[in-house]
Amino acid sequence: MKVFAFVLVIVTGIMLVVTAADFPAWGDAHSPPNQYLSTHYITQAEHETAVPNMVTAVLADYRGFDTMFETAVVFCAGLAIAAILGHEKKKRYVVRRKALPKTEEGDIIIRMATRFLVPVTQLFAMYVIAHGHHSPGGGFQGGVILAATFILMTLAFDLKTILGRFSEKMTLIWANVGLFIYAGIGVLCVLLGSRFLEYSALHKILPGTDEIMARSHSMLGVEIGVALTVMSMLFAIYAHLVSKGRLEDGL
């Protein structure tokens, strides 16, 4: 197997190296990818969507359909892991105390630090979501940070305690709500007589907006949807992985 893999890797590598000689030089501002579509996005994005962060504009508007399925991929992964690990027969499940930290006692310093850190981090996550139009960030990054705060809490306290506040059922509901927000905004556009995800149609129901501002505002809505799905599903994935699907005894 090793010899086979080695030969395969060498052959593929040589093919790719030979091809790389044909590439435009690295950092060339006049190579095709940096010229054709990129110019439109750079010069027109602010003009057409009122969002200075071009990445957010392209992500949530020009290529919003991709992002909807990206969110659906996270949703799908959450369901998949729950399906693979969840609800198994509780056969000969012995908690190996040696391998697990003593969660009952815990460390007072870590607990107190977590108590201070979590609200601040969550606030920062919301800033990342809301300010994605003007600075790096957006729904996905914010959602990951929110999920990370829940993971931090399970590390400091106990998986069961945190699942008591944010149960598997709640994660499923919030993930659904997130995707419903995203797809719902798309369908709303269809109902208003436009095409799927064509946000400019929403200026008819959003007060005080024109077609361009409607795009900007709906992008915020979409980002919130992404953040909700990502937050709840990534936390659910962690909870399942760390407890082998039993959701009772983890880190």
Partner: protein, 133 residues
């Protein structure tokens, strides 16, 4: 000689991405431990992301966020495209990173299930136990 050197230096990102990708591919095929295989899978995917991000780089350009946001209003003509990095590969790779972590999560869940059944995560041992059934 100096031509060759410039040629190599002007594309060194691409050479390294190929090296990283081949390391990942080799690990996915030849490593026996499944966790190692999936670490290799992540390296493989990040190498592809590195390739995409490298295609969008412009020397001397800044990050793809307009300076002064709303202040210039809608003066689109004033924006110089060469001044900003290409945003499209970044968008594509955000999606690819998400897909990568989702795949890793599912793969690790399957590893746990296999460990439940066969008490091992080494490929040859699993095959041996399957042969015994």
């Amino acid at each position: 000689m100096s031509d060759v050197l410039t040629f190599i230096i002007s594309r060194f990102n691409y050479w390294i991405y190929i090296v990283l990708m081949m390391i990942g591919l080799y690990a996915m095929i030849a490593k026996r431990n499944y966790v190692k295989k999936f670490i290799g899978m992540s390296i493989f995917q990040t190498a592809i992301i590195l390739f995409y991000v490298s295609t969008g780089v412009k020397s001397g350009a800044t990050i793809p966020i307009l300076e002064h946001g709303h202040d210039i209003g809608h003066a689109a003509a004033a924006i110089n495209p060469d001044h900003y990095a290409n945003p499209l590969p970044h968008v594509l790779m955000l999606t690819a990173i998400v897909v990568g972590v989702a795949t890793l999560g599912v793969a690790l869940a399957v590893v746990q299930k296999v460990h439940d059944q066969y008490e091992t995560i080494e490929e040859p041992e699993i095959l041996f136990k399957l042969g015994q059934e």
